[in-house]
Each structure stands twice: as C-alpha cells, then as structure tokens.
C-alpha cells in the first residue's frame, strides 16, 4: 500500500449545468490538505464523491488503498465526516447522537465524546433544532473526533464558528495529524485558516483542477503586482486575474513571468485568498472604478 491516505484519479462527474472534470490528487499520511475554490467550483462535489454520496461517472477514488465504491462501508468506517449542514435529525438530542454513534461505530469512545460535549458546552437534552449553526458544527466535530478514524473529511467546517472556537478547531486538527498516521482534507472559504495549518492545497475552479501541491509551492507559483494604467499597458504576459481601480490595477501573474514585468510595478507575495479571487475574476479587467 502507498503512503497515501487518499488518491483521486481522473475523477469526473457530469451534472446538467456543471462538470467536475479530471480531478487528480493524492494526500499523504500525516498531512492536512485544503480544498479551495469559489462557490460552485466543485469542492463539495469532490468531498461527496469521496464519501460515495455522489456517484462519479468515471475515474477512481481510493482511501487507504481501498476503492470507495467497492468497499463503501469499510472506507466510511475510517472517515470522520463534518459538513456545513447537520446530518442528524432536528428532533434528536446530543444524547440520541451519542446513542446512535455508540451503536454504529465499534471504535466509539464515549469518554472522549463526553469530554468534547463538556468542552464545547453542548446541552445533552436540547433538540438539535434549537442549536445554532456553530453548536451543530461542534457536535459533528465532537462525533467525528470521538472514534478511531484515519482520515477527517471536512466540508466548510469553520463557517459557523466564532474566532475562539475556530482557533481551538485548528488546534484540534493539528493534534489529529500529529502522530503522522492521520490526514485531513478540509474545504473552506476562509483561506486564512488554511494558511495556518494546511501543508497541501488543491485549488478547483469551474470544475477543473487548477493546482495541487504544497501550500508554499502554490503561493510561490504566483505573484501579486500593483501599478498604474500605463504599466498595465506595458505587461507582456497575460495576467491570471486582474482588478482595476481609480489608483491603477492589481493583477495576479505567474511567477515565471516576473522577469518580463516593468521594473516600476510593485510585486508582492499573494495570499491564498488573492489566488482564489484573481482566478475567479479572470483577466476580464474587473473594475472598482
């Protein structure tokens, strides 16, 4: 077996108005990968494909070397899943969730779950319909972390969390991968979270994979340039994305073109946010004028 927890090979899924095409990436053991991209890019479809709740048209997905379609139940038992929407019933309570988990997961650890419920201040007997979005996320996180999994699959998990809880969440994620045997795939819009913890990034846009690799490699593949309208006209290479304002322009360029840039433009290292935003803008010269 390879040292990869997750392997996606040529994954394709066609919907009426959207196609996820040729997604290829691998996630090694002991690392955290961020899945980034604008809304509708295909992040959730990719995650659901891994959970086999979306039936892919072609390609293959392997978790710990096992095909997710052929070994669905075995694969799911190794994955802890947290999504942005609650997968439990509205009328259920934390007690009901604990009861269910205890019976369906042989590796369930009630003590760990009780500790998380206490730490996250979740009420045991309140129906989930009275929980805030953040509380539901905490519950799903507690449930995912209270059993023996090899891999956490997180679909927009930090959206409903306050800054204190988000910080604790990132700490928990780092603890999870510490031993080198566990990995995390984590989709989010809040790329600042990823900059803190992600070792790898996979960037999807319009159903196509733009990049997959180490976070630093992604950031160093691009540069952010700022300049005047005159300097914009002097650009020899096509920017990945561009935004114009009354002060001039900002553009995301591939680093390989850095030598051809006018000497007067300001060159900065882009954030992950910049990379996602400028790819989404494209070179249509989006204007803030």
């Amino acid at each position: 077996m390879s040292g990869h927890i997750l392997e996606l090979h040529q994954v394709r899924k066609h919907f009426r108005n959207f196609t996820l095409s040729d997604i290829n990436f691998t996630l090694p053991k002991g690392y955290i990968m961020g899945l980034v991209g604008p809304n509708g890019a295909g992040k959730s479809t990719t995650i659901k494909s891994i959970m086999n709740t979306v039936d892919i048209d072609s390609g293959s997905i392997r978790v710990l070397g096992k095909d997710t379609k052929k070994n669905e139940a075995a694969v799911k038992s190794t994955i802890g899943y947290v999504s942005d929407t609650c997968i439990f019933g509205d009328t259920w309570t934390v007690k009901n969730v604990a009861f269910l988990m205890k019976h369906i997961h042989p590796s369930w650890n009630s003590t760990t779950f009780n500790d998380y419920v206490k730490e996250f201040e979740l009420p045991w007997n309140k129906p989930l319909k009275d929980f805030s979005r953040g509380m539901k996320l905490k519950l799903m996180l507690a449930a995912a972390l209270s059993r023996d999994t090899s891999f956490l699959l997180l679909d927009e998990p930090t959206g409903g969390l306050d800054p204190v809880m988000r910080d604790r969440f990132l700490q928990l994620m780092q603890q999870y991968v510490e031993g080198g045997e566990h990995s995390i795939l984590f989709s989010t819009h809040i790329t600042t979270d990823l900059e803190k913890i992600a070792d790898y990034i996979t960037f999807i846009h319009g159903g196509n994979m733009i990049f997959t690799g180490e976070t630093e490699e992604l950031r160093s593949s691009f540069c952010l340039i700022k300049g005047s309208d005159r300097e914009l006209k002097e650009l020899k290479a096509e920017p990945v994305g561009i935004r114009r304002s009354s002060f001039g322009f900002e553009a995301l360029m591939r680093t390989e073109h850095i030598r051809s840039l006018p000497h007067t433009v300001v060159v900065e290292a882009p954030t992950l946010d910049d990379i996602v935003v400028f790819h989404t803008l494209g070179n249509k010269e989006s204007s803030l004028l």
Binding site: M51, V54, D55, H105
Partner: protein
C-alpha cells in the same frame, strides 16, 4: 449484516420519539377496539415513510455511517416489513387483553386475513418505495393516494369487463387459504423485484 443493522437503527430512530410511539400504540388499540382489523393496515403505512421525511429535511447520517448505499435500501425494506410485523403482533396481543378488560368480545383475525393484509401492504410498498427512493418524500407524498385511486379505478374497470369479473367471482369461491397464500407469495416476489429496482436507483443517486 452489521451495516444493515446500523441503517435499521438510524431508520428506527426517526420514529423512536415518545410521541410517535404513543400515537402508534394508541391508534392500534383504537382500531383493535373497533374490531376493524384490516383498517389497522393504515398504521404501518403512516410510519413507513418517516425516514424519507427526515431525509428531505437533510437527515443524511445514514449515508455517512459505515454502510453502503445498498445496505440503506435493504434496511429500509426491512424496516417497512418490521413495522407490519409489529402492527400484527401488537394487535394479536391487544385482542385478548382488551377482551379481558372491556365488555367487548373481540376476535382475532384468521391466518388468511393476516396473509391478505401482508399481501396488500407488501404490494403497496413494492410499488411505492422505488418512487420514494427516486424522488423523495415531498414529491411522493400524494403517490399513495394515487395508488389507492388507481386500485379503485382498476376494480371498477374489472367489474365492467365480464370475463375478468367472472374470474374474480370464481376466485372468491376458491379455498381462501390457498388464495391468500398465492397472493402473499406474489406480493413477496414483487417486493424482491422492487428491492432490486430501488437498489439500482440509490446506487446511482447523488445525495
């Protein structure tokens, strides 16, 4: 088998609130008291689609638990049949108990009547479940009424076709035990075909 047990547990949790269980038992006792045996078949119908209601509301815990999509389908069929079994068992226990505590002399149904109830419920489930798996509860909630109307229209049509009407009348003169056994057998075969159809629907379905 473990995966099916997991799925069954999630489905049962969708009806395991105290209110719904009390409603189930109260209605069952009420029907038993009225001595309206066949009418109590409504009860498993009422509860059979609860898991689909929850799925419409986004309760997808089942699909993220260590079970395959095929297990989800098998467990849902099993859940429906267990509902029928529970109804018949509670009713069989309730009749002697209620006879003892009330002044009514309630009668248990005979085995043929049980088999006819099984055939009716199983046939309806065999027809409806693939639609519920394909379209969800919201789009299918009136399908049961459509099936009931369909059966009514079919009955009226049969009455107007002389040879079919005669055949039915002849059926009524036959040994009812044998007829009920054939009906139950045919319904069981329909259920197996329906299970295969539902499985192929769910395996290709995006949740």
């Amino acid at each position: 088998m473990n995966a099916i047990k997991n799925c069954l547990l999630v489905d049962l949790m969708s009806v395991m609130s105290k209110k719904s269980l009390l409603l189930f038992v109260a209605l069952l006792l009420f029907y038993t008291y009225l001595q309206s045996g066949p009418i109590m078949i409504i009860l498993p119908f009422m509860f059979a689609f609860f898991p689909f209601v929850n799925e419409d509301k986004g309760v997808t815990a089942l699909y993220f638990s260590p079970s395959g999509k095929k297990d989800v389908v098998r467990a849902r069929y099993l859940y429906c049949m267990l509902l029928l079994l529970a109804t018949l068992l509670i009713s069989a226990v309730a009749v002697p108990v209620m006879t003892a505590v009330t002044d009514k002399d309630l009668q248990l149904m005979n085995p043929s009547e049980y088999l006819f109830l099984f055939a009716a419920f199983t046939t309806m489930m065999a027809i409806l479940l693939p639609f519920y798996f394909k379209y969800g509860y919201a789009k299918c909630q009136y399908s049961m009424i459509a099936v009931v109307f369909g059966v009514g229209i079919l009955g009226m049509t049969i009455r107007k076709i002389p040879w079919l009407s005669k055949a039915l009348q002849h059926l009524a003169t036959l040994d009812q035990t044998l007829v009920s056994e054939i009906a139950a057998g045919a319904a069981a075969v329909m259920l197996l075909v329906s299970l295969a159809v539902s499985t192929s629907i769910v395996v290709k379905k995006d949740i």
